[in-house]
Symmetry: C2
Subunit: 304 residues, 2 copies
């Protein structure tokens, strides 16, 4: 069975100190799907775009073996748009514009052939939409969910309802503190485990990632990149690499989930080296594995 | 030969959301020496205090096998004082007061028996004073230096002069960017290698530490503490555990230096669990080694 991915597809205007893009391919589901496509196929995509969504972006997704039966193209509709501006050190960004457009009235329909997917990735969109997709699935084995401060602040009850059905929550460090209302990151993560997920994966950008379950803590390093051009989509790409590897290996043992964290980090490191999805378009599985090995070596400390 | 440590000894007033201390034992050299004392002895301490420095603090240092022949006690002088206040999440602090007092006219004299120490730890004080100590040493093998934004901003030329003679620089992430005038952390560290040190160790607090040399990058995790009471002295304690382990093992191979980073992190994790030096006073080498093992496990990812 394929890997089910739901989330936004969008057009991004991104300004960094180095460059400015307009109408770039963006959206959580886009990054997740392309990243996952290096590990497994098919990817079953559920999402919505407007008539203005460029044909070349559709072609790119299809080239990556992403099944688009679940992608609604709304006649006369406008695609989701986001505009953001990064500061000098690229760690801080301002959102300049968010236009939901076709997402405002999105009613996700999961095609028949998608419904038995045992791996589901709920990309960062309104938790109400994430739930609408999830309830259409027949007995999924592993539900991975991403969210953000926007939904924690506006739809907390809906998010908490969803988290009861989520196995692995992917979230960043400030969102972890916000969701648990607790400044200590480890305490906050453990508090969130009480909401439902068995595993929390905390993305910390240039500081790597932390996996926290009831009985395990795993710390994954970040790749020491000297050239970061555009951090947009890094978190979604992490989620895509993570669940793509899990779907490929069909192994949910904790050791394999740790490896999936490193593969997620590996894909994110490619993402930020170029603009939009460019860094993910031209790699191959050999390069992915080489960088995965480098990641493992980064934190290797030979014992006496 | 003993391990030479120079730096401040002070009296700290620290306010956190949980607690408030006055006249607590503080200062870089204090934390470095006590942390190092769990690995090696004797520690040769060079520093200065006033007549007001409590006898019980002298007793504590002596109990830890710290040689005080190099400690000047200035008659009628006042000990260095620092006051700081931590915010709710303990990651941000305001300095409320810094009184140099006896440090203003400090002229460090290295006792004869200290001069052949081959391991030297220049704790965070004015780089002019660090240099005054270093030039009195006879052919040291490993010079470790800590500094901070205060000196980078006020004494940059003196610091750059000193760095020519330093083997290992310990510094935090924002100071790394400041010293190199470069927002990318990895580029910044590599730029600082051009100033002299062979190795830069970047302390990132709750995000662990990075070791960077011309041909190695090593990422060490932070210990996932659920109870952090007082971060004061954590960086100095890191330096103390780091150089204490190196002095004990007398091994400057890169694999051993990586282990020293983990031992430094281990000691820092004990430091922040209690106020002032309290967390470092009651441990033993067995507990240190147990936590060291836990640190190694934190980033362990079993390969297929």
């Amino acid at each position: 069975m394929g890997l089910l991915v739901v989330g936004s597809l969008g057009l991004d205007d991104v300004t960094t100190p180095f460059y400015k893009t307009e109408n770039a391919l963006g959206g959580a589901a886009t990054y997740i799907s392309i990243a996952a496509s290096y590990f497994t196929s098919p990817i079953y995509l559920v999402g919505v775009v407007g008539e203005d969504f460029p044909k070349e972006y559709i072609d790119l997704l299809e080239k990556k073996n992403i099944d688009l039966e679940g992608l609604q193209i709304i006649e006369g509709g406008k695609t989701f748009r986001w505009a953001g501006k990064y500061h000098y050190d690229l760690n801080v960004r301002d959102t300049l514009l968010t236009e939901l457009n076709v997402f405002e009235n999105f009613d996700p329909v999961v095609p028949e052939k998608y419904k038995k997917s045992s791996y589901v990735c709920l990309g960062n969109i309104d938790p109400v939409l994430q739930m609408k997709v999830l309830v259409q699935m027949i007995d999924p084995k592993c539900v991975v969910c991403d969210t953000m401060n926007y939904w924690i602040e506006r739809q907390k009850n809906e998010l908490l309802e969803l988290l009861k059905k989520v196995d692995i929550l992917i979230i960043n460090d400030s969102e972890t503190r916000l969701l648990a209302n607790e400044p200590n990151l480890i305490k906050a993560a453990k508090h969130i485990l009480d909401f439902g997920p068995e595993i929390i994966i905390i993305k910390k950008g240039e500081h790597g990632a932390l996996l926290i379950s009831r009985d395990t803590i795993f710390s994954a390093p970040a790749y020491p990149l000297e050239s970061i051009y555009d951090p947009t989509g890094a978190g979604d790409t992490f989620a895509g690499g993570f669940i793509g590897y899990l779907h490929k290996t069909q192994d949910l043992n904790i050791d394999n989930i740790k490896r999936a964290v490193i593969y997620g980090s590996t894909m994110a490191s490619f993402c930020v080296e170029q603009f939009s999805t460019k860094g993910l378009e031209e790699i191959d599985y050999l390069r992915v594995n080489d960088r995965y090995r480098e990641f493992l070596n980064l934190s290797k400390c030979n014992e006496l």
